[in-house]
Amino acid sequence: MQTNILKGKLDLEKHGPLFALVVLFILSSIASPYFLQTRNILNILRQVSYTGIIALGMTFVIISGGIDLSVGSMTALIGGLVIMALNYFGGGIMAIIIAILFGLLLGMFLGAINGLIITKGKVAPFIVTLGTMAIYRSFTLYVSNAGEFRSTSNLYPKLGMGYFLGIPIPVWLFFGLAALFGVILNSTRYGRYVCAVGSNERVARYSAINVDRVRLIAYIIVGFTVAVSAILMSSRLNSLSSSNAGVNYELDAIAAVIIGGTAMTGGVGSMSGTVIGAIILGIINNMLNMLGVSPYLQGTVKGLVIIGAVLIQRKKA
């Protein structure tokens, strides 16, 4: 019996974010006639997929007890350099493939820089990524002279704007990566170690887990997801602004992770939660536009819904 009750409690806790999403979904359908249109739903999904993909990587970092504030700047830097690479190689199909590979590697490299300073230098993740946030942005401004990166390829936008079976490509990637990362988190050693490290580093070390490597990999993963997102975004816009691409992505990504039920203190979390968290944020933004809330009061509504979405989970659990 005890186990049952424990399980019952656990399930509710697990489904808290879903519950919040359902409530928001119902409210939105009532509030706006446009909300349930297929096109609108697809819009929302596509809109959330950029920060959503980053949030997936961020989930690993946060569960491992870290944080990454540099993802926004990293998005701009990677997106910009991918466009430069693309233009350099001529903009054809091969150029696109090379540029994408380059972008993904670059993302993992930038993530690894964060991870190495954090683990080898033993500096708090907040400080390291606050620093690299400034550094990555500054590089971006420098290479572009604070201007825009413009791709000359006609093919490149197909990727970010394209559809497959009626669903936008970014959405496929978002859900695909979420499924993959969900398996990694729940059913592989690495996933288990991430939770262990985030929950109690000392014990993890004692259990002969290579704590530094686990954390380093988490930052590499988030670098990878940033690269995916940067590629999708730069391809969708076929350009990228050096000064404001990716600004505040870190807040959106972290908010999605936490609304999704991952603990800020590390140790526990879920990928499905992060997906739901990202969608909740997307619906909020969509509804603010759809309902024409006064620009001055949008912040209030958004803030209230974010806090409310987490409060509702607590009350249920």
Binding site: Q2, T3, I5, L6, K7, L10, V183, S187, T188, R189, R192, C195, A196, G198, S199, N200, R202, V203, A204, R205, Y206, S207, A208, I209, N210, G267, V268
Partner: protein, 500 residues
């Protein structure tokens, strides 16, 4: 495998922390397939010694040979590869993970496709736990387990691994006789399979019973290594402390007739059912029971951690609502937690700040009077013989037993009227135990009343005026002084007898 083969040999092992030598030139040979006891006072260096063997610390000097060849146990993963596993003194378990995830942490079973084989891990966990005769579900979250259950998980974790050397650092401090018997059976079986076991304990009777040979350490020095047959408990204690030990239990004092604490039909949903008892002024009231009997829960209900669903608590005849530890302190109730690092002390605080944490108000005028704080702490250091370089040393640098003494001092400092002590002598040495018993004796002499929760039958019999026996969250019997015996208590604890 020859029984007399040497598995581990240490040559001139020394360890110092910041220039202080805590382990000095240890040369021992540990034989294949023996159970080797290590005893010594708190802070003697027992844990430090085994932490060198399992890679937590590297020695400042000296070398370790394993199975004949020199090894450099740089970290825990090297120890793991050599086949050394440890049941540490403090829990090394992850609260957010489930039981089976903890047991297989760092050595997960994977399927052909490299995904975790959860099914098999759960099955193996059930098997292991069945072998230990405990029925913890493999899926349960660790944070929902009691301290004793965690200890069983820790044991299962260590034996899940086919190790050649199994180190146990005070595994039985929170276990009752029943579990201890199970553990000893298991150790015997492992020994027959050729596993070498190092067993650290302050319970000399257990050491005598299970160990083949015993090492005695004092102040980081090697004192002796003898077959246990050659030593009796008195001799062990004498060598540990370096002088003769007198009578360990103080004489009992007759309590006054009036009850300071009356608990009536107290229930906590899912944990406690219909509990009633009286605590008289100046009494030491024992609480006995098996693991999971709910004694700790009762104590936590009394200090307002668990919300009471029905029933009343009366203090000096008046009904009181206690909904948090703050109310408890205001009503003169103090609690010594059995979970030292989980709820007892702050390891990142220094000794003095821990001691005065609950009673800090007494030291404020309005700024904290550090002199007074220091003076008071030094009194406890003297009274309990706490080994610490200073009152400002962080607790994480103290040995387990000395942390326990600080924890005791911390709960005592508010000068409670009712003192609930949960496993007070957990991990403290014979000599210090005696000091603690006499301290409690002095307390009750001044009219303080004690609830003593203990899994050590001796302690209950030697100290208590009466004993309440619990089983599965209920009181099954309350025994008066003349009815108290080990057998009688066990009857009630196992459910063979019932009714107060």
């Amino acid at each position: 495998m020859k029984p007399d083969q040497v598995l581990v040999k240490t040559v001139g092992i020394s360890k110092s922390f910041s220039g202080v030598t805590v382990l000095d030139n240890i040369n021992v040979e540990i034989l294949q397939g023996e159970i080797l006891g290590i005893i010594g006072e708190n802070g003697a260096g027992k844990s430090t010694f085994i932490k060198i063997l399992n890679g937590t610390y590297t020695p400042s000097e000296g070398r370790v040979f394993f199975a004949g060849s020199p090894v450099h146990i740089r970290d825990t993963s090297v120890a793991k590869r050599l086949g050394i596993s440890t049941i540490p003194q403090e829990f090394n378990l992850i609260n957010h993970l489930s039981v089976y995830e903890n047991i297989f942490l760092g050595k997960e079973l994977v399927k052909g496709n490299r995904l975790l084989d959860k099914q098999q891990m759960k099955e193996k966990t059930s098997e292991l736990l069945r072998e230990l005769d405990t029925d913890i579900p493999p899926d349960a979250k660790l944070q929902d387990l009691s301290v004793a259950q965690k200890q069983m998980v820790e044991i299962a974790k260590a034996i899940a691994y086919d190790s050649r050397l199994l180190i146990m650092d005070e595994p039985t401090t929170v276990l009752t006789q029943h579990e201890i018997d199970i553990l000893f059976n298991l150790m015997q079986r492992l020994k027959e399979k050729g596993v070498t076991i190092i067993y650290i304990s302050h319970k000399l009777r257990e050491v005598k019973r299970i160990c083949d040979r015993v090492i005695i350490l004092r102040d980081g020095q090697f004192i002796s290594l003898d077959p246990t047959d050659a030593l009796d408990e008195q001799e062990m204690a004498r060598r540990m402390v370096g002088r003769e030990l007198t009578q360990i239990f103080p004489p009992k004092i007759q309590p006054q007739a009036n009850a300071v604490l009356q608990v009536r039909n107290l229930s906590v949903s899912g944990l406690l059912h219909d509990i009633s008892f009286d605590l008289r002024k100046g009494e030491i009231l024992g609480f006995s029971g098996l693991i999971g009997a709910g004694r700790t829960e009762l104590a936590e209900a009394l200090i307002g951690i668990h919300p009471i669903t029905s029933g009343q608590i009366m203090i000096n005849g008046k009904t009181q609502v206690i909904s948090s530890p703050i109310d408890a302190v205001n009503n003169g109730i103090a609690y010594l937690s059995e979970d030292r690092q989980g709820t007892g002390v702050l390891t990142s605080f220094d000794v003095a700040s821990n001691v005065t944490l609950v009673s800090l108000n007494e030291y404020c005028k309005p700024l904290i009077d550090r002199k007074k704080e220091k003076a008071q702490t030094e009194e406890y250091i003297k009274a309990f013989n706490i080994r610490t370089p200073s009152t400002r040393t962080l607790l994480e640098y103290l040995s387990g037993g000395n942390q326990q003494k600080v924890s005791l001092a911390k709960s005592l400092d508010p000068k409670p009227e009712i003192f609930i002590i949960d496993e007070p002598t957990r991990g403290i040495d014979v000599n210090a135990k005696k000091e603690v018993y006499y301290f409690i004796h002095e307390l009750v002499k001044t009219g303080i009343s004690c609830i003593l929760i203990s899994s050590e039958m001796e302690e209950i019999l030697g100290l208590c005026n009466r004993v309440v026996v619990m089983r599965e969250g209920r009181v099954t019997g309350i025994l008066e002084a003349d009815e108290m015996s080990e057998a009688e208590i066990m009857f009630y604890a196992t459910g063979l007898k019932e009714g107060a």
